[in-house]
């Protein structure tokens, strides 16, 4: 066999592999959809689950996931924004900046179950928030902190020096610079980070499964100390205890909703990131 044919063959083989890997996404989507189809009906999103998850919809589970996501982002955003602004605007020492960045990477790499364990101990036991949606939101807030930080830091560092120099030349105080130059100009970076953080929080199970959630009983939280049902843990319980096909179909249906939610948030982040790049090119 000549080397040219060999090379052509190899390239062809690689292209097939690439196609297979790329179609993995389609395969996963199609499988989840096909398996969840029996559970999907017009009221799936707005009905409550019945008969220990065997029938009905996933309204309260979806609400629970949303509550935890929103809570996490509301807690995490100020901290992420503030800490990145401090690191980029006020902190002068390069070593200090590097240490902060490394710690961000450490948080990002930490296995999520550890956030669940330590977070429950610290918030749930020491701060006495118990097994509740507040604990869950706090844990998820810590978990998505590095995701937000990375997006915001990228946007701030991409900001052209002209803006900063003009601000300084106008005699703006650091606070005015932050308020009227940095935050408005890095707006898209912040929103991108928010969407990526939401997507990460929505897909997380291990960190909240024993700290914030319940399987049935409680519906919408009525106080700060109530746990919530969530899509993720709903799926987990159904998967572990599924004995009949209807229950499993419910788990797949919930999976489809969860997957759509995560993909929607990711694509939103892309759209905004694309806009960010375009603005930077101007």
């Amino acid at each position: 066999m000549s080397s040219a044919t060999f090379e052509k063959g190899m390239v062809f083989f690689l292209s097939i592999l690439t196609l297979l890997v790329s179609s993995l996404l389609l395969i996963i989507l199609a499988t989840v959809f096909a398996k969840g189809l029996p559970a999907l009906h017009s009221g799936f999103l707005i009905e409550t689950s019945e008969d220990f998850g065997r029938a009905g919809g996933i309204f309260y589970q979806l609400m629970g996931t949303m509550i935890l996501m929103t809570g996490a982002i509301l807690i995490s955003l100020p901290v992420a924004l503030g800490s990145v602004i401090y690191q980029t605007q006020y902190l002068k020492s390069e070593t200090g900046k590097e240490i902060c960045r490394q710690l961000g990477q450490v948080l990002n790499a930490t296995p999520t179950i550890l956030f669940g364990l330590v977070g429950y101990l610290f918030f749930g036991v020491y701060l006495e928030t118990g097994v509740s949606w507040v604990t869950g939101s706090l844990i998820l807030a810590v978990m998505i902190l590095p995701t937000l930080q990375v997006s915001i830091r990228e946007a701030i560092e991409a900001l052209s020096d002209q803006y900063k120099e003009t601000g300084m030349a106008l005699g703006l105080s650091p606070w005015s610079q932050i308020k009227s130059i940095i935050v408005p100009q890095c707006y898209y970076g912040i929103i991108t980070g928010v969407f990526l953080g939401l997507a990460r929080a929505a897909g997380e199970t291990a960190a909240i499964m024993f700290a914030a959630t319940t399987f049935s009983g409680i519906r919408l939280p009525e106080s700060f100390s109530d746990p919530v049902p969530t899509l993720q843990t709903h799926m987990l319980v159904l998967t572990q205890e599924a004995a009949n096909p209807e229950t499993l179909a419910q788990a797949w249906g919930a999976g489809l909703v969860l997957l759509s939610l995560v993909f929607f948030l990711t694509v939103m982040a892309w759209i905004l990131r694309g806009r960010l790049k375009m603005e930077a090119e101007l």
């Binding site: 690689l14 990477q105 993720q232 998967t239 995560v262």
Partner: protein, 287 residues
């Protein structure tokens, strides 16, 4: 005026301090909470083979399970990631490259519980049928599932490492009359090796910490397989052990302390791997 800006700075410094406390507190609590069990068992905690709640705690089966599953995922993912990364970086047009990268980013975001459900419903049944086993929940199942899960991460990072090679090298190689294939395997690939190492290490770090998907398919038996290389037997990994038992003893007792010590072990392992991975990736981008 001066006072106002000082106050503002303090607010931002305070927010940064919260962030530092999150990172530092995690490590502190893991050490603090695992101290009782380490004092009780000492180094034997990591060598003991038996885990009986209330009696004795030995982490070796979990350590071994985590290592084996991760190694398996790594072995499965490496050739595939390498082959596909070469193709994406050297043979695709930039538009299709961006499409594939977008697909990979979406894949990387698929929640672990969805992979878990897929693993339970398909992979473990397939492995059971193909190898004629009694139970499809084995180390091999977990390894395969993890390989699929970390593939997008490893692939994207390896591809970045290949793209990062200087364009002149490619042009010179082609100018010397090498074919595109020879250029890709002979020039780009060796250049990108440290970056690929980094990518694989970061993937391994992710695989080690994955809880839900592994917990559902690994079988959750606290023992070292017999013989030791038998990947078709049920075992346990550190995160899946934590996920299974944390709810039972939350916050108190020796059991909890033992679980936290397991968590500390996992944390240190993941941190070391990640540190190495980042070193490799950085070396690539500087040189």
């Amino acid at each position: 005026m001066k006072n106002e800006s000082h106050g503002v700075m303090l607010v931002f410094a305070g927010l940064n301090l919260i962030f530092l406390c999150c990172a530092g507190g995690l490590f502190f609590f893991l050490i603090f909470e695992s101290y009782p069990i380490l004092k009780l068992h000492g180094f034997d905690f990591w060598l003991g083979q038996d885990w009986w709640v209330g009696e004795t705690y030995g982490a070796l089966p979990m350590l071994y399970g985590s290592t084996l599953v991760t190694a398996l995922a790594c072995l499965l993912v490496l050739p595939l990631a390498l082959a596909v990364a070469i193709f994406i970086s050297e043979f695709l047009t930039s538009t299709s490259r961006r499409c594939v990268k977008a697909v990979l980013e979406l894949l990387a975001g698929v929640p672990g519980i969805v992979y878990g459900l897929l693993g339970v419903s398909f992979l473990s049944l397939w492995i059971k049928d193909i190898f004629g086993l009694l139970d499809g929940n084995t180390l091999a199942t977990a390894g395969c599932l993890l390989a699929i899960m970390i593939l997008p991460t490893v692939l994207t990072l390896s591809e970045d490492a290949m793209r990062a090679g200087p364009a002149e090298y490619r042009e010179i190689a082609l100018g010397l009359g090498l074919s595109k294939w020879q250029m890709a395997t002979g020039v780009v690939l060796p250049q990108a090796l440290p970056g690929i190492m980094g990518a694989v290490l970061l993937g391994i770090g992710r695989a080690m910490g994955e809880t839900i998907a592994v917990m559902l398919v690994v079988g959750s038996l606290d023992r070292i397989p017999d013989p030791w290389f038998n990947i078709f037997s049920s075992a346990q990994t550190i995160p899946s052990k934590l996920g299974r038992e944390a709810a039972e003893s939350i916050g108190e007792g020796t059991h909890w302390s033992a679980l936290m010590a397991l968590g500390l072990t996992l944390f240190i392992m993941v941190l070391l791997i990640n540190f190495l991975g980042n070193r490799f990736l950085k070396r690539r981008s500087i040189s």
